[in-house]
Subunit: 685 residues, 2 copies
């Protein structure tokens, strides 16, 4: 069947090429098809699904500096190939990933002098497509500046788009908005669309390694165009051949859940480059962090300094008692005093504050079977960080620190660079300068067996496949907005949008698990805008290989029963499925533990209560499971009664039906474990 | 748990009543709550779900003729009760139905003279609510005319509404439109809503037996008001105490599929009144019908007369050969010649045309184990029909005819009535005059062991529970629009809307199964706007206890393979579940045969192709089933290639995952039957 399909595709391809300078490629299941053609020499592509156009003819090409645009070509060669392999993730939402696509490779050469060459590669998957440009080594194109990338996504339908603005000072930390595509301005990716016909699409990019981040600008109607984030000098990308661009990706699914389970972004990244990955371990951690957001401790030195030896040792005790692998300590090193957001050059990454005995702390941690998680806030002063990078990572490695959380707080464009003339320039977090930096840190970290958790990051484009020490990152509004946002924090629908937008890019360090939801003593005008059960559900709904239990130890000790779910929930999965999906309203995800037979369910809703029906068809047949259910109490309500939670156990099988009752702003978390004979006895009574 | 809930509700109720003349009742699961109150004497209700108002305060009451309005009251008594029973349907979508509600009964008396009494009864189910007015026998209210019912449905959200217009000449036969609730004019029920928050509601009525049909008029913003269909003299309802109104119903679900599986309408009807139901048998039938729509035969006499003895005997042979229970014959009786739509008084219901020997035909049918299905087109001349009704049904009963299809073709308001002064008046199909007529025919039919299939009917409000000989009805645009509609027939999304609107009321005789989709020889400018596979899927998607195989026998003989699905599919079900639901886009329904272990799946899409993922968790565990799959071919498309179909068998279990590939305008039908050892051998190869 597969063979037949390929042959028929090839026939079609040759037939078309002959007559009209047009190439076509279909997805393996034949559902999706892409047409490449030259329109008076200008390359363009078009995408159809079930024979209906979903991307109208859309331009391809570049504008270069000091040279004509790369826009007028003839086809010199083209090739159609098929690929199908299944690879194993080092860690992730799913262990085995099938990478199955048909590829169309079109080699182009300029019609006129200097006859430069460019190749466009399209990969059609059953769940979407990716394409990229390749500029081979050639006499007339060596070193060059890209002033504009002409790539368009000319959407056929005026869909509802979920988006955040592209050039805001606050990087990726905005609330998602839903508007018509035709009403967009310039937005970050992933941007996710729901068409009036019920088709779901998400545009993003894969393997962004030495290029500018692609944002999308509305150029009229429902046509979007790549808008590469510029350097301070206006150049978008400084390049030399041979080069390949990141993949431009369009994920496509008939239901919103299909976007979540798509592995297209990972499949378009290079395979793992690390030979030894035995030191890379997904884990849960606690840390000295939330206190600072509540203003009950400080990053900087002084009487309220959070990162003291003594406090850290208490956290280590807590972590050891409950089996957390790591203890994050923020504010341990010199540089936090003064306005570090503006003047990050003061950060020293190997110099602890006097009240933080890092040798003692790491020794104590090791004795307890716990690891310190290093923290490198740079204040966006990356030159300062790069100077110290190697020393810092050597220092941590020696101390047995295998996870570093980095930070790049700074109002965009706020990255200081010294240009060729020795002058200071200010770059964006998501321009090429920083893409290079983030990549450099990953590679340096890998050399020192260090896993990374990057805050204020470049957006995720799947680099974790190539460097699986790149664990998780921020790049969206996380839990801390609840602590201090003057506008009231994240509204209850925030976490029902993230899985369909930000999380399509990759894992997020959201830092869930706040139990003291109102923290009246600390900040009476702020609160967490969820129920308690929803905080638990987020551990399943928002994937991260490093998940924090973000609240203070005393709040967990005082709520031992709900805390059990955080202790149980894994951070590395065999499989992931989506049971309910409605963007901005609710989502239910189940995941199978990679290291046991347990399944975990997380379901969250927006400000509206819901009764969601589900079967448990994901469980193994013929077995009884104990469902350990953490659900909103009958009277729970994120505004009026957020703490109301019911924790019950019941016997279930694959054939059980459950109604997930989610309170307004609520959620539900369930662990399914195989029932012992004793469980059956106890729960059958 | 249940007991506790009731007690707490009672406490709440008494607490509230005491202070503010307000009563409350909750659904059994506590999700839904209704508040009744007197607002300066005027009764009103309000509905909340998960503590969020979904129906804002909405008026209740009546305007009477020659008397003050029933609008200013005090509460004299109120009672809260709970009810929970499971009853068995004689036939239907589901065998066992749970009727579980909490009831609030509020007795009211006018504050001022003549101090008339009125009771409002609310029933809160987990899947919605119903309420009705009861006017007890009382000295100051005997015979009276209702000039207006004040009932409002003041929707909290401006939802998307799927509706058809209320007072069109073409009765219920319109394409559903989707607009904002705030843009509605006056609409029929069921009218179905999807709120921006993802809540689904449908407003309708139950047990409409001697009252005017309720339509809904927009009275500003998102507030809808009952607009009872008037008599020709302007009176809405001619009544006498004691009386009860129909139930006003609001079905509510978190997903659109939940509306389909709700049994609220049936639960609000009276239990079965027929002692012997052994003669009531869901069935499939063929008939002399499609030919007339194609203009290849005529209802009236002449050379092309369809209903001849000889042709009927051929249909009987065909039915007997393939196991169809019935043969419908239209145009068999005198009255069809001339303009019968205007002058229906000529119809004679016991007088066959000379070329139709009804004695011979029914005798031949009986020999072959087949029954004739009687046909009574009235041309909307109901007085003529009522005069002959008893004789007609006696005649059919004697001939062994146990199903009669009635028809009331006529442009509304077109029902002739003779008023008290002996003058002709013209009534609506859905006014009280006709409600009474339709009910009279059901009762008369029951006396003669006759099942009914009513075309141009009053809308279904669940009377089949009380009179299970009321089998199915039309009341929407059926298949025949494809034959002759000058505007091109039903668009591909029509059948993806019907299950969420018209079919919520009850079964529909859509007459699916046209195989000769283009019928170029007959009517080259018309066609069926589906693929072949979608025609099969409709047998599952659109429930009817009497389902027609509507095409000509020769088209089935020539397509024996797809025809097999029509032969296999049952018309009476043990259970029904909805796997995918998006109103106007697609729907997948599975149903379990009531008389075997088979399951059947039907999935249909609009003009867009889809890949819908599904598990088969509805199947029994630990068994292998043969899935007999009838699906769109890889190149199928309702416009370009409607006949392309793939019919395959495969072994599946409860743990199998299927991708339902639906072509544009397509569908898929599957029979799941338990696999024999031979099946396993054959299909494992």
């Amino acid at each position: 069947m597969k063979r037949l399909l390929l042959i028929s595709t090839l026939l079609l391809f040759f037939a078309c090429q002959k007559s009209v300078n047009m190439q076509q490629v279909e997805s393996p299941d034949g559902t999706l098809s892409l047409t490449f053609r030259l329109n008076e020499g200008a390359p363009e592509y078009e995408v159809a699904r079930f024979n209906r156009t979903i991307i109208n003819p859309s331009k391809l090409g570049f504008v270069l500096k000091e040279a004509d645009s790369l826009t007028s070509f003839r086809v010199t060669n083209s090739a159609l190939t098929s690929f199908d392999e299944t690879w194993t993730q080092v860690w992730g939402e799913k262990k085995e990933i099938r990478n199955h696509y048909n590829e169309l490779r079109v080699q182009l050469q300029e019609i006129n002098r200097p006859r430069r060459k460019m190749t466009v590669v399209f990969r059609l998957f059953d769940d979407g497509l990716g394409f990229r440009y390749e500029l081979p080594e050639q006499p007339n194109l060596a070193t060059f500046d890209i002033m504009d990338e002409l790539t368009e996504f000319n959407l056929a339908d005026d869909a509802t788009a979920w988006w955040i603005p592209a050039y805001g000072w606050n990087r990726y930390e905005y609330l998602y908005q839903a508007t018509k595509t035709s009403e967009l301005d310039t937005v970050h990716t992933p941007v996710t669309f729901e068409t009036p016909n019920g088709l779901f699409l998400s545009i993003h990019e894969a393997a962004l390694t030495d290029y500018a981040s692609m944002t999308l600008r509305n150029i009229g109607g429902t046509a979007l165009k790549a808008d590469l984030v510029p350097w301070s000098d206006g150049v978008r990308v400084k390049a030399q051949t041979p080069m390949v661009t990141p993949w431009r990706t369009i994920q496509i699914a008939d239901d919103a859940g299909g976007l979540i389970t798509s592995c297209l972004i990972l499949n378009l990244n290079e395979p793992n480059k690390l030979e030894d990955t035995s030191w890379i371990k997904p884990a849960k951690y606690v840390g000295i962090w939330w206190d600072m957001h509540l203003n009950t401790a400080t990053w900087g030195s002084g009487p309220m300094h959070g990162a003291t030896t003594e406090r850290t040792m208490r956290y280590i005790d807590f972590a050891a008692k409950y089996g957390f692998a790591g203890v994050l300590v923020e504010g341990w090193n010199i540089g936090w005093d003064g306005d570090w957001v503006k003047y990050g050059d003061g950060f020293q990454f190997t110099a602890p504050y006097p009240d933080f005995d890092i040798e003692k702390v790491t020794r104590y941690a090791a004795e307890k079977g716990v690891q310190l998680i290093g923290h490198n806030e740079t204040g966006a002063a990356v030159l300062n960080y790069e100077k110290q990078l190697q020393d810092a990572f050597q220092f941590y490695e020696k101390l047995g620190v295998h996870v570093v959380k980095t930070g790049y707080v700074g109002n965009d464009p706020s990255i200081k660079r010294i240009d060729e003339k020795g002058e200071e320039q200010w770059e964006w977090h998501h321009g090429q300068f920083m893409v290079r930096h983030y990549r450099k840190v990953i590679e340096e970290a890998a050399r020192h067996n260090i896993m990374l958790d990057v805050h204020e990051p470049i957006k995720d484009t799947g680099i974790r496949r190539t460097y699986p020490n790149m664990m998780t990152r921020e790049g969206a509004r996380g839990q801390e907005y609840h602590a201090w946002d003057p506008d009231g924090g994240n509204p209850p629908d925030h976490e029902t949008i993230l899985p369909f937008t930000r999380l399509l890019a990759g894992p997020m360090d959201f830092t869930p698990g706040i139990f003291d939801l109102l923290f009246d003593r600390a900040r009476p005008n702020n609160r967490v805008n969820t129920t308690l059960a929803k905080q638990l559900a987020l551990y399943v709904v928002l994937y991260s290989p490093l998940h924090m239990a973000a609240d203070l130890p005393e709040n967990y000790e005082a709520n031992r029963k709900p805390f059990q779910f955080i202790l149980d929930v894994p951070t590395d999965w065999q499989d992931t499925r989506v049971l309910h999906a409605r963007i901005g309203d609710y989502v239910t995800i189940v995941r199978q533990d990679r290291h046991s037979d347990d399944w975990y369910l997380g379901s969250v809703t927006d400000e509206n209560g819901r009764n969601l029906q589900t079967t448990l068809s994901f469980l193994e047949p013929n077995l009884r499971y104990v469902a350990e259910i953490y659900r909103d109490g009958a009277d729970a309500d994120w505004q009026a009664n957020p703490y109301s939670i019911e924790i019950i156990e019941m016997l279930v099988t694959q054939n059980s039906n459950l109604t997930l009752r989610l309170a307004p702003g609520g959620g539900q978390a369930i662990r399914f474990r195989k029932a012992s004979e004793a469980d059956v006895q106890r729960l059958s009574r």
